[in-house]
């Protein structure tokens, strides 16, 4: 049990590695890991407590 160097799981099976690989393979580089707004982003929520829809052209 203390010989963790012989764990049969390659690092490539880790979900964080898989997620990074998936994104790189599509040549995508999102600026954020996830769209969860922090306290400092509170202004972005203004006016968004209602339904927002735009008809665009």
């Amino acid at each position: 049990p203390d010989d963790h160097h012989h764990l049969p799981l390659p690092r490539s099976t880790f979900p964080s590695v898989q997620a990074g690989k998936l994104i790189r393979e599509l040549n995508l580089f999102p600026a954020k890991d996830v769209n969860v707004l922090r306290d400092g982003d509170a202004g972005l929520l203004d006016g968004r407590n209602r339904i927002v829809e735009k008809r665009f052209r």
Binding site: S16, L26, I51, V52, F56, R57
Partner: protein, 430 residues
């Protein structure tokens, strides 16, 4: 959208088309807002409403919108070019950024990040309720759920959630008629078992590799069995064990593109979808969409990892009840995809226990013809159909746009095993 090149779109001006985008607050969330695009049909407002879900998990549906079956593609100069085979030619088409945290969808509360299909499908159901209350003119249209890849998980769960809501007379009744899964991951026990068979058949591995890699299979199958439909730690364990099968195949297959084994990945690059991020970050586009300063997260690693315990759960389990109630299911798969290959999909569809199983298995395969040539092979019985698509990888609408639009038209018209969906139109054109 600014910069639409509309000269290829005969006769109809862009101003005549109903294109909408926006946010709906998700009712049963802490603070989640789901972003969507809605394109009214280029054919008729009476066409079905079709929702598309992209997989990942954690990738924005705009990936499919611009690179597969949406109304436009993005040119290198950031103008938009009409897609002659966009699915909005046969449907009123919805793309949603889901699960929350993906694309332009966001929350100010981390608890809105979903970890399982119950959370994902409840959010989508709440989205639909908001959508149809804003667009009551579409509420009586037929409604279909479609998508690809990891959406093979989302789609059955979402269809079951809609059906359950209808039965319980919850909210607005949604006229659900069917759901379609393209190169999806739905029943991992069967699909992970098919990896080595497909890889050997396609010459990606040798017999000795096959024998060696298959030694892991019983452990993977046991772990998935323990995971079942609602396991937790066992599901995480099975993710690691079973994905070692896939990694082993890839380490032997070299730099092939596992979404399309005919292709190679150059460097670490298998596709170049970077124009999506460039386009959706243009100020003029962001102003048109009204997204303010919200980031566009094309694919979210956090959402991907949050779904770790969901990966190996069997989502086939809820499908038979939908079939018994007459809800149609189409499973289709491009023949050159390894990661969600047609063999694994075909096997779980055949193994699924429902009242029509024997007749489905006994039914004959028929060619799926488009313009007089064979675009695929179809097997169907009652509400269930399986289509193996020729000359396509993981992203069927990108590789075979015309055939995939024809597939959608025929399926929604209940004429999948027949010829063209609009014979009368062809006659009039003649």
């Amino acid at each position: 959208f600014p910069n639409v090149v509309d000269d290829e779109f005969g006769g109809v001006s862009v101003e005549d088309l109903g294109h909408h985008a926006g946010y709906y607050k998700i009712a049963n969330s802490h603070a989640a807002r789901m972003f969507y695009f809605f394109f009214e049909s280029r054919n008729s407002k009476k066409d079905p409403v079709v929702i598309w879900l992209t997989g990942g998990p954690g990738c924005s549906s705009e990936l499919a919108m611009f690179y597969e079956n949406g109304p436009f593609t993005i040119a290198d100069n950031m103008s938009l070019v009409w897609n002659p085979y966009g699915w909005d030619k046969a449907s009123n088409l919805l793309y949603v950024d889901q699960p929350i945290g993906t694309g332009f969808s966001f929350s100010s509360d981390i608890r809105d990040i979903r970890h399982n299909e119950q959370g994902v499908s409840n959010d989508l159901y709440d989205f639909l309720q908001a959508f149809f209350s804003e667009h009551p003119e579409f509420v009586n249209n037929e409604f279909y759920i479609t998508g690809e890849s990891y959406a093979g998980h989302y789609i059955p769960a979402f269809a079951a959630r809609v059906h359950q809501g209808n039965k319980a007379k919850e909210g607005i009744h949604i006229n659900l008629k069917g759901f379609a899964i393209g190169n999806g991951l739905t029943d991992p026990a069967i699909q992970y078992g098919a990896y080595t068979d497909y890889a050997l058949d396609m010459g990606l591995i040798k017999q000795s590799d096959y024998n060696r890699i298959n030694k892991v299979l019983p452990v993977c199958e046991m772990a998935i069995k323990l995971c079942g439909t609602d396991g937790t730690v066992s599901c995480m364990a099975s993710y690691f064990v079973c994905n070692s099968i896939f990694s082993s195949i890839m380490s032997r297959a070299g730099d092939i593109n596992y979404y399309d084994i005919r292709k190679k990945c150059e460097g670490s690059l298998c596709y170049d979808f970077s124009n999506l991020e460039k386009f959706l970050n243009l100020k003029s586009v962001r102003d048109s969409l009204g997204v303010g300063d919200i980031s566009f997260v094309s694919c979210s690693p956090t959402v991907y990892q949050a779904m770790l315990m969901d990966w190996m759960r069997n989502l086939e389990a809820g499908i038979p009840a939908l079939l018994e109630d007459g809800i149609k299911l189409l499973v289709y798969a491009g023949e050159y995809d390894l990661i969600c290959n047609w063999l694994g999909n075909s096997r779980w569809v055949h193994a699924m226990e429902w009242s029509g199983q024997k007749d489905f298995v006994a039914s004959s395969e028929v060619p799926f013809e488009v313009d007089g040539s064979e675009a695929g092979v179809l097997r169907s019985h009652g509400p269930l159909a399986f289509l193996k698509v020729n000359n396509a990888g993981h992203m069927v609408p990108m590789d075979q746009p015309k055939a995939s639009l024809e597939m959608l038209k025929r399926w929604t018209h209940g004429k999948l095993s027949e010829g063209t969906a609009y014979p009368e139109k062809l006659v009039s054109e003649m």
